[in-house]
Structure formats: structure tokens, C-alpha cells
């Protein structure tokens, strides 16, 4: 086994995609084969590096912030002064939650790159560079422990996604991508203001010393910001993250973005980008501004409940396959914010689980939509029907992920949702009862969708395609297989995730002043 303890493993993971992107810049664009090889090699190396970090995670020492007592909960921490005048650091670190999200990112990026080999025919080099830069940004967000650094990575993510939708997207791509970028930009600029306000306050309170003013660990340990400042900063962070999740009523950019994005773009959008918001709440907004989080939790819980039910109801009547799944994401991500803001141990664990599992399952669903789209160049449900007959393997795989998304026990979606339910019930049975109605609504839109695609007689539209209507090819099987396996593994053995997130969840609840529930049994 390779020992990673002596290596700056996190920096390697972050910058490996950058190295690949730079290398790609020197590859002639018409040598598509080499472009693909370099891109794939880069994502594979990044994936392997993230897996090495996972393997060594248990044995790695936890970082202790100088001058503070107790562990910070982060491992592999690297600190380099970056802009010393303002105390801005290049500081990265990893806990169980970020480990899971990084591995999710490297896995889905690899799958997306492989999947794109077929469908992407124009400007392949630029496309691959965009994906690698995107990967760099996403990993950076999950690993940054300095607020300014976090902000930089957060904004880096925006640029390649803007290009991916805007250049390789569908007919209405310009509208969708500008909407996506502006909406997200509004939130993130507000967040920048809040970051600056927090740093200024900290610096002023420390007699003008900028040391640690942008450092999450220092700020978290200092704590106790003025309630009014907390409120303003929390609202600013909240808007940034709520738009990203997206929470109701900030969600309308998502269906447009999904519909126009190329398949792999949708996979990353649903699989990773939406998680940036949930992660931001857990990593930054809650520990920095616990008082404000408490004050506003009620409203956020209500917004989450609306998202869960509303998203599901709107999904029911969507005529477009991608829009339907986009609205289902609004509903599913509602569980993440609900689980976070009831401040309860099981609910918070469920929220993290839901982030990972939604990434896997919805990523897979978008790949399945891609399989249909590649053959029909259409996503209109009304034109589909009877795919079980000509493409039985695809129908089986698609059905598998439909039921995973439905929360079938034994598959990954169930455990996270149920933990959010249980934890919410312990705090507010009424909220849990409202959310529980999604069990039926989700059934309605998912089974309706599946019926209209897979069952009944083969539709005239599909018959017209004749021999073009082939079953899944090797690349498609290869890209869906790992997600298939993970869906079963995390469904049967959620301990693989739960063991990793137990400590960060407990730490966060302690920081929030909500002691973890011990159950009622003495």
C-alpha cells in the first residue's frame, strides 16, 4: 500500500486536473484521440489519488490548530500563506464529509468524460479542458478551509459550466446559461461581501491583526460574532447556497440549465454542483453563524418542506424527461436542507447521505436520459413508449435507478431519506408527516415516467427509428455500471458512509449547541 501521509495529497488531488488541462492546451485540437486519452488519464489519476486519500484517511493524523485545544476534525491539512497582508491562507483539509464528496466528484467526472467520448463531436479539446477545470473547482470547494480560497474555487466552478452549457448545449442554451450564471453570481457576490464583513470584524476585534481573519478554523474557534452581523452574513451565505441547492423559490434556473446542458453537464450539475450548496451550509454557514442559523431555521425548514412537496407535484406534469428529473432534484434536495436545519443527529446524517446518494442516482438517471436522447434526439415523454421490447437491458437499468430514486429499501436512496424523516419526526412530527406525502408524489412522477417510457406498445415515433433503436452500447454500460454497484452497496451497507460522517456531524451539532440525541432508552 502506498503511504500518502508524507505527500501533499490534497493539493495533488486539486491540481492534477489543472496539470491535465494545461497539457491539453498543447495538444493539437484535431488530434481528438490524443485529447480524449489525456483527459481520461487525468481524471483517472485524480480518481486514484482521491481513493488513496480515502484509503489512508483512517490512519491520517487529525490536525490541531495551534493555540487551540482538541482536534479540528480535519486531516491531511496543508497550510501555505497566500496573501499574508490580509492573513489569507492556502489551507486545505479533509474530513469525512469532504472525503465522500471529493470521491463522488472524481468518480462522476471520470464517468462524464468517458461518456462524452461519443456524443461530443465539436471542439472536443475545449470541452475536455472545461471539464478538467470544473473538476479542479469542485474539488477545491470541498477541500478549502480558508474563506477567500473557498470563494475563489466557488467562482472557478461557474466559468467552465457556463461554457459547457453555452457551447455544447441545446437550442436555447444562451438563455439558460446566462440565467444560470447570473443567478449563481448574485448569490456568490453576496457571499463575498459577507466573507469580507466577517474578516473585517474579526480583524477589528483583534486590534487590526489580520492573522486568521479568513481562516475557517480560527474563526470557528473564536466564534461569538455579534448577532446582527451573524444575521446579515448568514442571510448572504444562505442566498448563495440556497440558489445552488436550489431551494424553493430560487430553483427556476435548474430546469432550464438541465434541459439545455449536454448529458455529461447534467450529470455533474445534478451530481455535484447542487451539493456545493448543502456542503456550504454544513461547512461554513452553520459553524460561523450558529445563532443566526438557529433564528432562521424555522423559515428554512418550511422552505424545505415546500421544496419537497412542490418539486414533486410540479415534476408530475412535466412533458420533458430532463425537466421532470430536474424538478425531482428540487424535491430530493429539499431533504438535504430539511435534514440540516432541524439540527438533529439522524437528520443531519441523513442529509449528508442524501447528498451522496442523490449524486449517484440522479447522475445515473441523467445518463439514462442521455441513452434515450442519443438514439431519438428527443426527450418528450409523450413520444416514448414500450422501450422494454427493443431495449430490454436499458429498460431494466433505467427501472433500477427509478426505484432507487423512489427510495426503495435496499438501494441507496432509502437510508438517507428515512434518516431525515426519523430525525425530523423526533423534532417535529408535523413536519415529518407533511414531508412523508412525497412518498406518494415521488411514486406518481417516477412510475408515470417509467411507464410512459418502458411499458405499453412501442410508440410510432420509436418505431420510425427502426434499427437505430439499439440497446445500450459498451460505453454506456461501462459508465452506468459503477453507479449501479454503488447504489446497491450504499443501500445495503450505509455504514460505509455513516462511519465517516459520524464525527463531523457530532462536532457540528455540538458547535450548534444541540447535543446529539441519545434516544429515549436510558
Amino acid at each position: 500500500m502506498i503511504d500518502v501521509s508524507g505527500l501533499p495529497i490534497l493539493s495533488l488531488i486539486i491540481f492534477a486536473p489543472l496539470v491535465g488541462a494545461i497539457a491539453l492546451a498543447f495538444v493539437p485540437g484535431d488530434n481528438v484521440r490524443l485529447v480524449k486519452q489525456v483527459a481520461l488519464a487525468t481524471t483517472l489519476v485524480t480518481l486514484v489519488l482521491s481513493l488513496l486519500a480515502a484509503v489512508g484517511f483512517g490512519a491520517a493524523a487529525e490536525y490541531v490548530l495551534p493555540g487551540s485545544e482538541g482536534s479540528s476534525g480535519f486531516r491531511y491539512v496543508e497550510t501555505v500563506p497566500w496573501i499574508p497582508f490580509f492573513g489569507i491562507l492556502y489551507r486545505v483539509g479533509m474530513d469525512g464529509i469532504s472525503l465522500l464528496l471529493v470521491v463522488l466528484t472524481t468518480t462522476l467526472t471520470t464517468i462524464s468524460v468517458v461518456y462524452s467520448f461519443g456524443p461530443i463531436k465539436t471542439r472536443v479539446k475545449e470541452y475536455m479542458i472545461s471539464f478538467l477545470v470544473l473538476e479542479l473547482g469542485m474539488i477545491g470547494v470541498f477541500l478549502a478551509l480558508d474563506l477567500f480560497l473557498f470563494y475563489i474555487f466557488w467562482e472557478i466552478v461557474l466559468v467552465p459550466m457556463y461554457l459547457i452549457i453555452g457551447i455544447w448545449g441545446g437550442a436555447n442554451r444562451i438563455y439558460a446559461t446566462i440565467k444560470f450564471v447570473l443567478y449563481t453570481l448574485v448569490g456568490s457576490l453576496l457571499m463575498l461581501v459577507a466573507i469580507l464583513a466577517t474578516a473585517f470584524t474579526f480583524q477589528a476585534a483583534n486590534g487590526g491583526d489580520w492573522t486568521g481573519a479568513f481562516d475557517l478554523l480560527t474563526l470557528r474557534a473564536a466564534g461569538g460574532f455579534d448577532p446582527t452581523l451573524q444575521l446579515f452574513c448568514f442571510i448572504a451565505f444562505f442566498l448563495a447556497f440556497a440558489i445552488k441547492v436550489p431551494m424553493w423559490p430560487f430553483h427556476t434556473w435548474l430546469p432550464d440549465a438541465h434541459v439545455e446542458a449536454p448529458t455529461a453537464g447534467s450529470v455533474i450539475l445534478a451530481g455535484v454542483l447542487l451539493k456545493l450548496g448543502g456542503y456550504g451550509f454544513i461547512r461554513f454557514a452553520l459553524p460561523l453563524y450558529p445563532q443566526a442559523a438557529h433564528d432562521l431555521a424555522g423559515i428554512i425548514v418550511v422552505l424545505s418542506l415546500i421544496a419537497i412537496i412542490y418539486g414533486a407535484i410540479v415534476a408530475i406534469v412535466q412533458p420533458d424527461l430532463k425537466k421532470l428529473i430536474a424538478y425531482s432534484s428540487v424535491s430530493h434536495m429539499g431533504f438535504v436542507t430539511l435534514g440540516i436545519f432541524v439540527f438533529q443527529e439522524q437528520a443531519l446524517q441523513g442529509a449528508v447521505l442524501q447528498m451522496i446518494n442523490h449524486g449517484i442516482i440522479t447522475g445515473a438517471l441523467f445518463l439514462c436520459v442521455g441513452v434515450i436522447y442519443e438514439r431519438t434526439h428527443d426527450r418528450t415523454l409523450a413520444r416514448m413508449g414500450g422501450l422494454s421490447k427493443p431495449t430490454p437491458v436499458f429498460a431494466g437499468v433505467f427501472g433500477f435507478f427509478v426505484f432507487a430514486s423512489l427510495g426503495l429499501p435496499g438501494l441507496a436512496g432509502f437510508v438517507g431519506e428515512f434518516l431525515v424523516f426519523v430525525g425530523t419526526f423526533a423534532v417535529s412530527p408535523v413536519a415529518a408527516a407533511i414531508a412523508a406525502f412525497v412518498m406518494v408524489f415521488a411514486g406518481v412522477y417516477l412510475l408515470w415516467m417509467f411507464q410512459r417510457i418502458a411499458f405499453g406498445p412501442v410508440s410510432d415515433f420509436l418505431k420510425g427509428l427502426g434499427h437505430h433503436l439499439t440497446d445500450m452500447d459498451r460505453t454506456e454500460v461501462l459508465t452506468l455500471a459503477p453507479l449501479f454497484a454503488l447504489t446497491i452497496i450504499f443501500g445495503l451497507y450505509p455504514a460505509a458512509i455513516l462511519d465517516l460522517i459520524q464525527q463531523p456531524v457530532t462536532d457540528l451539532l455540538v458547535a450548534l449547541g444541540s447535543a446529539p440525541a441519545t434516544g429515549l432508552v436510558p
Partner: protein, 671 residues
């Protein structure tokens, strides 16, 4: 959890729970491993096998053998002294205080359920070799059947509420796959979706009930819940109304899976599936899951008499409601489907009055004779070339003698004619209801018994007697089914004759009572129910006479109208009769318009509501977003002479706002 053991004293009220020995652990695990391996192998290899059943059927025969061995050990060999064994496979969800293990649990109730599930499951597997012989997709069929067996076995073996819920959803999945087996039929695709969704409505309750159990009692493990509950109730940690709430929530789940009114609508449509599926899943095993859940939770329900009354009321209402529909249906499988609803209603009525053992007794005998009747109807449908309308049958008894005789036995059994199986169990349900003070349940139950005998012999008469109305093209080809189909029928017919007497005798001190006494003892203790001496020449005998009398009346009436000596003016009598009560006839024939009502409420009105939500999303929420953007652009246009493009203008507006906010924040933050 598996490691704990309690004092082995059945008289103390708590059945002993011990750690399973290594043999038992292996056998219990095999019961689950074998069918899931069978499923996986059949999915992967099935299409390439010349006999696609070659993995699935032997697998279930082995499962049946293991289950029978374990059950006989427990019930007859008394190997676990009336107690239970429990074993931990692994920890499934370790989320802090919420810790759920993959634990298996085996007591006498499990043993009875295992016998029913695996015996009928095994016979249906064998039967399907013949029934599905000409279907090109039969590998899928056998794969799904094995998946169902795995799920159903997990359901009865699970040691905690969440694992039962998991299995509950998995049997729902297998049911979905099998109802929609002929997926190219639109009706099948609609029926399986309906079944799954109606079940999900009940599951909302079940899931919330599980959450309530965990938040109030702090565990989901059966043994621990039942063990902790009395002290927590006595100590005032749990209010009694909470128990009522929990039980009602659990009952919601039971109503869905066991198709009780008003969640009954999915079961008749589920007949779209191949007939062996109707026999196994939608008559003999899965639909019993709700009954099993309530029986398994008897210590909870015993503390909530208010909930039990509702269980009894819903049960007996479903019994008479469904029987009234079975009267007039023309599709042979639909008659049997409504009959199943009605009989499940009996079981819930029994649970509701506190006759726990009688409910499980009826579950077992009903599984046998209804399995028989469905497989028999499958044989008929097979014989007349996929025709299900009884108006296009008749006079089949000579051409299909084995099917006729076995179905006749099944009909006598369900009608409650002694000494067949249904007589003993139905009599026990009704007798106990009467004696426990629920005379109204008894009275309705007796009426249902009359109706049952009538509609069953209407079915027999229209199918096997009178003149043939079979399509003349099909008529010459009508034939008895192959031995793979008739042998299971004969075995089930024999069981329908002997099982009732074996389990139900001696009256008042029956075998099944001995088997299940340790399971239901705590509940009966809590409810303060004590068995009174059996009076064959008193009240009990009188109740038996009434039951048998009404059954005979129903049978004879149907026999005269539809039976052996049917002549034309009798048929006219039937028409005249129905013409005299057109409202009742039409109401019954149209299933009291529940499908229409659901269509109106959930498809038409519900669809409009969803449309309204979607409109709101596009025009109001997204409209506001785009409106803000347009406003910003207009403002930009007016402020600036030259238009530089949308992005920059947006950015300008945003930046302006941001600077404003930043100033405010800094003023506030540094104060």
C-alpha cells in the same frame, strides 16, 4: 440484540428469546440467500437457458424443505419451547442512537407464516412451469417469482419494524413487476402503477408509525419494543393516546398491503398479472402481510383498544362490501379477487376483536383454498384459451374433471362446509367475535358467509355446469391442464380438506391455539381476555349451526340459479331479479363506482392541481425572476447611452446593489 436472552418462562407473559444456534442461523440465512441467488442467476443466465425455470424452481423446493424442517421443529418438535430465536446478520444502519440491525427472528407465528408462504410458493412455482410454458419472457417470470419469495421470506423473518418495512416495499416491487409482466398491455402497465401507488398511500402511515415507535420507545427491535413498552406505559413515559396513534399509523400500512377499504382498489386490477401470480401474491401470501403486521404487533395493539375497534370495523365492512361486488362480476378472476378482499376483511375483524389466533388460522386456511381456487381458475383460463369472462364458459366439468373437482373442494372450503378447512377457521373467527362481545361483527360476518357461499357457487355453476357458452372455435380444443398444473391443484385440494381439521381440532383446545399461545399470550394478558370453557352443546354449538346453515342456504340458492339443473326460465328469473333492483345491481356491477371516484379525485382534479402548480412555477416564480432581469436591463438601457449587451447590464445592476449591501453590512458589522 441477538445476544440477549430472557428467562425461559412462558407463563411470565414474555416468550423466551434465545440466540439462534449455528445450525438454525445457517438455515435461516439460507432461506434468504437461496432465492436472491436464484433471482440473480435467472436474471443473468435465464435468457440463455432452454428451461428458464431450471434454477428458480429447484431453489424454492429447497427453501420449502428448509422452512418446513424449521417450522416442524418449532411447532411439533417444540425445539424452542414456544419461544423465539433471533440472529444478527450484520448492522444495517448504524446512525448513532438510531441503530437498525439486519436481524432475523423466528417464533411460532413465523413458523406458521413460513409454512403457508413456502408451501404455496413452491406449488405455484411448479404450476408455473406448465402455465407459462408458451410465454417467451418466462425467464423474467421465474426471476421475479424468486425475488418475491426472497422479499416475502424477509418480511416474515425480519426482527424489527424497519426491516419489515424494507421487505414490505420489496414485495411491493415484486408485485409491481409481476402485475406488469405483460408490459406491452396498457392495462397491465396501469394496474401495476396503481397497485404500487395505492400501497404507498398506506406506507405513509406505516413509515410514520415506525418513526413514532422509535421516538417514543427508542428502538425498533420487536423484542425490545414489546419488552420496554409495559414499563414505559406504566411509568407515564408514553401516553396511551400515543399508542392509539402508533397503532392507527401501522394499520394504515396494513390496509394498503391487505387491500382493506378504502385502499382496496388496487387488488382487483392486479389480476392483470399472470394467474399464478394472482394465486401466490394477490391471494395467498403478500396480501396477508397486513394481517401479519397487526398480529406481530399484537402487544402494541393490545394497549390501544380504540385502534382495535377501528381494525374490526374496517375489516368487517370490507368483508361485506367486497362480497357485495363479487355477486355480479363476470370475470372469474375478479370474483376471486373480491372474495379475497372479503376474506381478508374477516381476518382483520378477528384481529380487531382480539381473536388473534383465529385471524392467523383463517390466514393459513384461506391461503390454501384461495391459492387452490386461483390456480384452478388459471387452469380454466388456460383450457379455454385465455378467456376470463364466465359468460363465455359453462359445462366445463367433463372436459376438465380434475380442475372441476379440486375447485369444487375449494369452493366448499371457502363456503364453510364442514369438515373442510374454511369451516373451522371461519367458525372460529365468527364464534370468537360473538363471545368477545362483538355481536355486530358476528352478525355482519354471518351475512358475509351467506354471500360467500352464494357467489362461489355462482362461479362454479357458470363455469362448470349448465350449457357451454365457450367460443365455438375454441370449444373443440378445450382440454385438461398438464400434470405440472393439476398436481399442485390436487395437493392443495387435499390440504383444503385436512388442514382445518388438523389445526382446528379438538374444538376449543385446537392445535393452532397451542402453537400460537406463546405468541399472543402477552396481548391477551394486556387485554384481560381469558378463554372460557368450550360449550359444544351450548353457545359454541349454536354458533356453528348458524354458520353452517347460512352457508348451506347460500350454496343451495346459487346452485338452483346457476347450478347443475339450470334451465332457461331460471336464467330469466335471475334477470328478472336483477331488473327489480337495478340500482343495487348496477352499483355492485360497477364496484360501487370507486374507480370512477378515484379517477375524478386523483386523476382529473389532482391532475389539474398539479397543472396549476406547474403554471405557478413558470409564470409566477420564474416570471418574477425574469421580470427582475428585464427591469435591470431596462434600467441599464436608460441610464446608459449605448447598450453593451445583456450580461454586462445585469452585472451592473447586481454590482450596484452589492455595493449598497456591502456598505450597510460594514457599517453594521464594525459598529
Amino acid at each position: 440484540m441477538g445476544g440477549m436472552s430472557f428467562a425461559a418462562d412462558p407463563h411470565a407473559g414474555i416468550a423466551a428469546v434465545t440466540q439462534a444456534g449455528s445450525t438454525e442461523q445457517l438455515l435461516l440465512t439460507l432461506l434468504l440467500v437461496l432465492p436472491i441467488v436464484g433471482f440473480t442467476l435467472t436474471v443473468v443466465l435465464g435468457r440463455r437457458l432452454s428451461r428458464p425455470w431450471i434454477i428458480a424452481v429447484p431453489t424454492i423446493i429447497v427453501v420449502w424443505a428448509i422452512a418446513t424442517y424449521l417450522s416442524v421443529q418449532a411447532l411439533i418438535g417444540d425445539a424452542f419451547h414456544g419461544g423465539a430465536i433471533q440472529t444478527t446478520i450484520y448492522e444495517w444502519i448504524p446512525a448513532g442512537a438510531f441503530s437498525v440491525s439486519f436481524d432475523l427472528f423466528f417464533d411460532n407465528l413465523t413458523a406458521v407464516m413460513l409454512l403457508v408462504v413456502t408451501t404455496i410458493g413452491m406449488l405455484v412455482h411448479v404450476y408455473s412451469i406448465g402455465y407459462m410454458a408458451h410465454d417467451p419472457g418466462k425467464w423474467r417470470f421465474f426471476a421475479y417469482l424468486n425475488l418475491f419469495m426472497f422479499s416475502m421470506l424477509l418480511l416474515v423473518l425480519a426482527a424489527n419494524f424497519l426491516l419489515v418495512f424494507a421487505a414490505w416495499e420489496l414485495v411491493g416491487l415484486s408485485s409491481y413487476l409481476l402485475i406488469g409482466f405483460w408490459y406491452h398491455k396498457r392495462s397491465a402497465a396501469l394496474a401495476n402503477k396503481k397497485a404500487f401507488l395505492v400501497n404507498r398511500v398506506g406506507d405513509i402511515g406505516f413509515a410514520l408509525g415506525i418513526m413514532a415507535i422509535w421516538t417514543t420507545i427508542g428502538t425498533l427491535d420487536f423484542v425490545q419494543v414489546f419488552d420496554l413498552l409495559p414499563a414505559q406505559l406504566a411509568g407515564g413515559h408514553i401516553e396511551q393516546w400515543m399508542m392509539v396513534g402508533i397503532c392507527l399509523l401501522l394499520f394504515c400500512g396494513a390496509m394498503g398491503k391487505s387491500a382493506q377499504f378504502p385502499l382496496h382498489v388496487w387488488l382487483p386490477d392486479a389480476m392483470e398479472g399472470p394467474t399464478p401470480v394472482s394465486a401466490l401474491i394477490h391471494a395467498a401470501t403478500m396480501v396477508n402481510a397486513g394481517v401479519y403486521l397487526v398480529a406481530r404487533s399484537s402487544p402494541l395493539f393490545a394497549t390501544a383498544p380504540e385502534a382495535l375497534i377501528l381494525v374490526a370495523a374496517v375489516g368487517i365492512f370490507t368483508a361485506i362490501f367486497a362480497a357485495s361486488i363479487a355477486f355480479t362480476q363476470k370475470d372469474i378472476k375478479r370474483v376471486l379477487a373480491y372474495s379475497t378482499l372479503s376474506q381478508l376483511g374477516y381476518m382483520f375483524a378477528a384481529l380487531g376483536v382480539g381473536a388473534w389466533t383465529a385471524a392467523i388460522f383463517h390466514l393459513a386456511t384461506h391461503g390454501i383454498f384461495k391459492g387452490l381456487l386461483f390456480l384452478g381458475s388459471g387452469s380454466v383460463i388456460h383450457g379455454v384459451h385465455e378467456e376470463q369472462d364466465m359468460d363465455k364458459m359453462g359445462a366445463l366439468r367433463r372436459k376438465m374433471p380434475i380442475t372441476h373437482w379440486t375447485m369444487l373442494i375449494g369452493s366448499l372450503a371457502i363456503a364453510g362446509i364442514p369438515p373442510l378447512a374454511g369451516f373451522f377457521s371461519k367458525d372460529e373467527v365468527l364464534g370468537e367475535a360473538f363471545k368477545l362481545g362483538f355481536q355486530w361483527v358476528w352478525l355482519i360476518g354471518v351475512v358475509v358467509a351467506l354471500m360467500t357461499a352464494f357467489y362461489m357457487f355462482r362461479l362454479m355453476g357458470k363455469t362448470f355446469y349448465g350449457e357451454s357458452h365457450v367460443d365455438p372455435h375454441v370449444e373443440p380444443h378445450v382440454h385438461e391442464s398438464p400434470p405440472t398444473m393439476t398436481v399442485p391443484l390436487i395437493i392443495l385440494a387435499v390440504l383444503s380438506v385436512v388442514a382445518g381439521a388438523y389445526l382446528g381440532l379438538p374444538l376449543g383446545d385446537s392445535t393452532i391455539h397451542h402453537w400460537l399461545a406463546p405468541v399472543f399470550h402477552p396481548a391477551l394478558e394486556t387485554m384481560g381476555v381469558h378463554a372460557e370453557p368450550y360449550q359444544l352443546f351450548g353457545i359454541d354449538g349454536a354458533l356453528i349451526l348458524v354458520s353452517v346453515a347460512v352457508a348451506t342456504i347460500g350454496m343451495v340458492a346459487a346452485w338452483r340459479m346457476f347450478g347443475f339443473f339450470r334451465i332457461h326460465d331460471r336464467l330469466d328469473t335471475v334477470r328478472a331479479l336483477t331488473a327489480r333492483v337495478p340500482t343495487l345491481y348496477q352499483g355492485s356491477f360497477h364496484k360501487w363506482y370507486f374507480d370512477e371516484l378515484n379517477d375524478l379525485l386523483f386523476v382529473r382534479i389532482g391532475g389539474r392541481v398539479a397543472d396549476a402548480f406547474a403554471w405557478f412555477d413558470v409564470h409566477i416564480i420564474d416570471g418574477a425572476v425574469n421580470g427582475v432581469a428585464t427591469l435591470t436591463r431596462r434600467a441599464g438601457d436608460e441610464v446608459r447611452q449605448s447598450q453593451t449587451g445583456r450580461v454586462q447590464n445585469y452585472a451592473l445592476g447586481i454590482a450596484g446593489g452589492l455595493i449598497l449591501i456591502a456598505v450597510i453590512l460594514l457599517l453594521v458589522g464594525t459598529r
